[in-house]
């Protein structure tokens, strides 16, 4: 299955140069990001990154985000982001109903 996502991630927990796979965490959740198509990005563990890409579900049900776009967003206000995202989804739902 493929689905386009727009992600903000809490932090990069680990990064493998050999596989170009970054593991990111959000609370108890983890996700793998395939960064092989990204250029001019240095992945520091502990930094917050935003990725846009396609979510691929492998046959073993493992999900990997194949990133097309990525950027370092250190300095982002995560509380503001999450609260605004909730408002945004409500705004979109209200707009569709109207």
């Amino acid at each position: 299955k493929k689905k386009v996502h727009h992600f903000i991630l809490l932090r990069i927990q680990e990064y493998s140069v050999e596989t170009a796979i970054a593991t990111v965490v959000d609370g108890d959740s983890k996700l793998k990001i395939d960064t092989q198509h990204l250029r001019d990005l240095s992945f520091r563990t502990g930094s917050i990154f935003q990725f846009i890409g396609e979510l691929l579900i492998h046959p073993d049900n493992e999900a990997v985000l194949q990133a097309r776009v990525g950027r370092n967003v250190d300095g982002i206000d995560l509380n503001l982001y999450h609260q605004s995202l909730q408002l945004l989804r409500q705004f979109q739902a209200d707009h569709i109903r109207a």
Partner: protein, 167 residues
């Protein structure tokens, strides 16, 4: 009476822009055959902000790119054909060179992964909405996308949405 949104760059989220109502314009020049409106309010200019996720350049002709703000993906076109276009043939050559230079600078700013604030006219292409770009600013603040969402929502509720009918 719906608010007058003409001659202002309306700040819109991508999903809102992409769902504008298109109306054929019977009394129009060839470049304005379609009119756009949002909940009954005609508009012609917009401001969007998001990440550049697609870029297709035809040097000397145009740059097509897409802006993704998390609610949708807006196709944009930046014309680069000023020196050969008949549309500019009657203008002073030095003015056309200046306009072309500015457009070329904008094109060089648009790179995959950058966050761009784009202003332009709402136009139609093959039945879909797009933005014909007039201005580009690259944003580097990591909070700018969040603040743009909040701006768009606030302006929609306070300024752009029609007033509810009073009973």
């Amino acid at each position: 009476m719906p608010p007058n949104l003409h001659n202002t760059h309306v700040k819109l989220l991508a999903f809102d822009l992409l769902s504008l109502t298109q109306t054929p314009n019977p009394h129009s020049s060839s470049s304005d055959t379609i009119s756009f409106s949002r909940r009954g309010s005609p508009l012609s200019r917009v401001e969007i902000l998001g990440t550049v996720t697609f870029r297709d350049s035809k040097p000397g002709k145009f740059l097509k790119f897409s802006i993704d703000d998390g609610t949708g993906c807006v196709p944009c076109i930046l014309w680069l054909n000023h020196m050969t276009s008949p549309y500019f043939s009657r203008r002073r050559p030095q003015d056309v060179r200046l306009i072309a230079h500015v457009a070329s600078d904008f094109a060089s700013l648009i790179k995959i992964g950058t966050v761009a604030r784009v202003r332009g006219r709402v136009t139609g292409y093959r039945g879909s909405v797009q933005v014909t770009v007039s201005d580009v600013v690259i944003e580097r603040d990591p909070n700018v996308e969040t603040l743009h969402w909040l701006d768009c929502m606030r302006l929609a509720r306070k300024c752009y949405d029609p007033l509810p009918h009073r009973k």
